[in-house]
Amino acid sequence: MSRLTRRSFAVGGVAALLGAGGVAWLANARGQDGIPGPLRKMLEFNEGVAQRLFGPQRLAPEFSPDKIEEPRINGLIGLASVAPTQDWKIRVVGKVDRTIPLAAIEALPSFSMTTQLKCVEGWSRIINWKGARLSDVLAQFGAGSEYIGLSTPSGGTDKSGQPDRYYVGFDRPSALHPQTLLCYEMNGQPLTQDHGAPLRLISAVKYGYKCIKRIGVIELTDHRPPDYWAEQGYDWYAGH
């Protein structure tokens, strides 16, 4: 029994040391974008799984009007200055180069949905949104591209003159999803500054940090666009 015990504990000890070594290596592995490289690889692996299971026509549940909640202000990056709501223009760059007035987006078929905006922090709000489908905007003003990058107007600065910009990247299937809207109304009212006036994105298939406010630039590209929070260690895909 004592020989068996010694052998078993030795095997267990070696296994524990190997495991601890593996975790230490993983935790200290070089990485970019805020997390160790192997963990970033795992997020990308999960993204591959998610994309394979992604149903482009699978809709997020909609809620009845009595379930609508007060919006919660969260995420003011890129909103330091006050956005003019008159004569707002969106630059479309990359595969095309044109400037479209907000009115052109408001002229597209308007869709309304009451969906749950989910924050990756773990809270949610049920909100009624109204706007044009991103798929319609892209069909009208865009061109085929694997990715769509959206950002606040370039050249934005905060009060101390530091650059103040927010930017997100979308994979094409998520961008074309029928519940991905460029919104100008929230709970029946025009968007306020804190919620991204005059035009913001809401996608019912993405977590809140992909739902960029105050859109000034849309980029059509075949390279994965940079993403503000993905650079800080968060998942680039952020689909749910």
Binding site: F9, M42, V120, A204
Partner: protein, 222 residues
């Protein structure tokens, strides 16, 4: 007279010990995520304790690490799920589920074991591999594991599995369920460790070596 009795198979021992760092990793990374929206309390009204107090996060260095927590959580989850599924598959194929799943007499027996362990009754627990209390505990914790996978999936991909999230009561409710299952593991862990210490070296060694010395005196616990 010393006699060696085979108690735990090699597969069960490996899966058991492999699960220790995996569950720890899931709970730890889960805490990093929970910190970002720590809205739950234990108790009611005046007697509610906010989970968790600030000193707790400070002490364990859990603050401001949401991205890191998610990255670990969504990596370890695969190993945790695979290990759990392998364990369930093994108990089915090997027939060991018969020792683990409670049967008709288990409830009464579990009650007797609880009374005995609280020193309220002198009736000894039966001497077989798992008594009624253990059957409930070990089957229960596996069901909790399944619950964690399902509630976890429903808050990880609430649109792609909207049917599941809806079934569990919605996104916010599923998150609450996911949290309290984790608190359940902590309770299981505390009782498990206490019982293993009570049961002694012979019982603990069996989980490492696979064999127990059957002297006829010690009842197994843990």
């Amino acid at each position: 007279m010393e006699r060696l009795e085979h108690k735990h198979s090699r597969a069960v021992r490996w899966m058991h010990w492999f699960n220790v760092p995996l569950l720890f990793g899931m709970v730890w990374s889960g805490m990093l995520i929970y910190w970002a929206n720590d809205v739950y309390s234990l108790g009611f009204g005046k007697f509610a304790i906010h989970l968790f107090p600030d000193w707790f996060y400070r002490w364990f260095h859990l603050s401001g690490r949401l991205a890191e927590g998610m990255a670990w959580h969504f990596a370890i989850m695969w190993l945790f799920a695979l290990n759990g599924l392998a364990y369930v598959a093994y108990t089915i194929v090997s027939g060991e589920w018969r020792y683990l799943v409670p049967n008709r007499g288990s409830f009464r027996e579990a009650w007797m074991v609880v009374l005995h362990d609280l020193h309220l009754s002198k009736i000894e627990p039966p001497r077989r591999k798992f008594n009624g209390a253990q059957q409930f505990a070990y089957t229960g914790v596996v069901l909790m594991g399944a619950g964690s996978l399902l509630t976890g999936l429903s808050i990880y991909k609430p649109t792609q599995v909207a049917w599941l999230t809806g079934f569990l009561g919605g996104y916010d409710m599923a998150r609450w369920e996911h949290f309290w299952l984790t608190m359940g593991y902590m309770a299981f862990f505390a009782i498990h460790i206490a019982q293993v210490i009570r049961a002694g070296w012979n019982n603990f060694r069996a989980m490492v070596t696979g064999y127990e010395v059957a002297s006829g005196e010690e009842a197994s616990r843990g």
